[in-house]
C-alpha cells in the first residue's frame, strides 16, 4: 500500500497549520473545509480524489480504508455544521454496506446478484470518464476565447422588403369563411338583441338632424316599453361616448337637451 503523497496534492495550499486532532491524512484546517467541499462535484468526485491521492487503482480499492477515510471527512464536515448534500450521506451509507458485505462469507448461490463493489467501481470509472471529458471539452478551442470570428457590416447594402403575395383563391376562401361564420352568428344576434343599440343610435341621430336641441325626454319614446327606453338610453350614452352628441342642462334639475355634434 502506498503512503499518501500529500505534497503532490493540488490541495496542499490549504493544508498548512493543521489542528492535531484531525485524522492524520486529513490536512485541512476547518475554515478551509467549505472551500474544500466546493472543490468537489459530489461524493463520486470526493471518492475519486481519495483514491487518486493514494495512487490506488480504482479496480483495486481497499474498501475498509477508503470507507473509513470518506466517513472521517463526512463526520468532520458534519461536526463543523456544514450542510452536506444528501448525496454525500447516501454514499457514506453505501460504502458502509459494501464494507460489511465484504466481511461476510459469500454464499455460493449469491452469484447472480451483482457484487456491490463492482457497482461502485463501475460508477467511479464512468464518472471519471466524464470528468475527463468535461476537462477535454473545456480545453477545446472555442469562440470568444480562442477563436475570433470575422464579419463585415452590411449597412451599405440595400435590402428590399417585398410585399406579401395573395392568390385569388385565398381571397375566395376568406370570403367563404367569413360568410359561413356570419351564418352561424346571425340568428344568435337577433334573439339576444330584439332592439339593436346600433340601429337605435342611428335613429337617435336622425331625430337630432331636424332641429338644434331636442329635449332628452322626447327621444325616450315609450312605444316599445321598458326595453325600448333602456336601449335608447344606452344608444344615447354610446353616442355621447363617441362624441357624436352633446347633452346640456341650463341649471340644476332643469330638463336635459341633446344635440348632435356635426362633423365638418
Amino acid at each position: 500500500m502506498n503512503e499518501p503523497h500529500t505534497e503532490k496534492n493540488p490541495l496542499t495550499i490549504i493544508v498548512k497549520g493543521l489542528p492535531t486532532e484531525l485524522p492524520h491524512d486529513l490536512y485541512i484546517p476547518p475554515d478551509a473545509l467549505e472551500v474544500f467541499l466546493e472543490a468537489f462535484e459530489g461524493p463520486l468526485d470526493l471518492l475519486l480524489y481519495l483514491i487518486k491521492k493514494q495512487n490506488l487503482d480504482i479496480l483495486d480499492i481497499p474498501m475498509a480504508k477508503i470507507t473509513l477515510q470518506y466517513q472521517e471527512y463526512i463526520n468532520l464536515m458534519q461536526g463543523l455544521k456544514l450542510e452536506l448534500a444528501a448525496e454525500y450521506l447516501l454514499m457514506s451509507a453505501m460504502l458502509a454496506e459494501i464494507k460489511s458485505r465484504l466481511l461476510l462469507p459469500r454464499p455460493v448461490s449469491e452469484t447472480s446478484e451483482e457484487d456491490p463493489r463492482m457497482t461502485l467501481i463501475k460508477r467511479l470509472k464512468e464518472y471519471e470518464q466524464f470528468k475527463k471529458a468535461a476537462e477535454d471539452l473545456d480545453s477545446l478551442p472555442r469562440v470568444d476565447r480562442d477563436i475570433q470570428l470575422v464579419h463585415i457590416g452590411h449597412d451599405n447594402i440595400p435590402v428590399e422588403r417585398p410585399l406579401p403575395t395573395v392568390k385569388l383563391e385565398e381571397l375566395m376562401t376568406a370570403l367563404l369563411e367569413v360568410l359561413s361564420r356570419a351564418k352561424l352568428r346571425n340568428p344568435h344576434l337577433i334573439e339576444q338583441e330584439p332592439i339593436s343599440v346600433r340601429a337605435r343610435m342611428a335613429s337617435v341621430l336622425e331625430k337630432l338632424q331636424t332641429s338644434d336641441f331636442v329635449p332628452f325626454q322626447r327621444l325616450l319614446a315609450q312605444v316599445e316599453g321598458k326595453m325600448g327606453v333602456v336601449v335608447t338610453f344606452i344608444a344615447i350614452l354610446e353616442l355621447l361616448k363617441q362624441s357624436a352628441v352633446e347633452i346640456v342642462q341650463q341649471q340644476a334639475y332643469a330638463p336635459l337637451h341633446v344635440r348632435a355634434i356635426l362633423s365638418t
Binding site: 452590411h154 403575395t165 341621430l205 362633423s263
Partner: protein, 188 residues
Amino acid sequence: MHSNSIKATLEAAIFIADEPLSIDRLLELFEDDQAVTPNIIREALATLQKDYDGHGIELCEVASGYRFQVRVDVVPSLSKWLQERPEKYSRSLLETLALIAYRQPITRADIEQVRGVAVSTQTIKTLMAREWIKITGHRDVPGKPALYATTKKFLDYFDLKSLADLPELLNSQEDEGAKQLELSLEES
C-alpha cells in the same frame, strides 16, 4: 517581424475592428517592434489591397482609416439574398379585402357587421397603402362613414379585366353564403 506576418496581423486587426483603423492605431499593434514604421504599414496595406483584387470584398481607405467592405458588383446579388421572406397577410385582412371586392361600395361598419369583429385601422391602412382599395364616397347616414371599393391596381394584381371577372360564388353553400351576406348588410 516578417513582412508577411505584419500584413496578416494588419488584415486580421482591420477585420475584427468595429470601425475603420488609422495608421496610428494600427501601429499600436507593433509597439514591441521598433522596426515597424508607418511606412512599412502603408506598404503592407498597399500589398494587402492588391491581394484582394478579384475578391468579393475590398480594403478601402475612408476618412478615419482602413476597413473592408463588400465590392459594389456583388451588392445586387447580396441585396436580393438578404431580403427577408415576405410576411403573409392575416386572415382578417384577406376577409376584409374579399368583402370589399364582392360587396363594394361598403363601409367599415358593414364589414364589421358581417365579420362579427372589429376591423382594425391598420388593416384598412395596409390595404390603402397597397393601393388595392380606395374611398369612393360617404354613405349618407349619420357619421357619414367612408365607402370603400377596390382599385384598378387590385384588378391588375389579380389579373382581372373587371370586377365581373371575380370568381362567382357557385355551389349551393356559397349561394346560401351570398344570401347571408345580403341579409347581414341589409340589417345594418
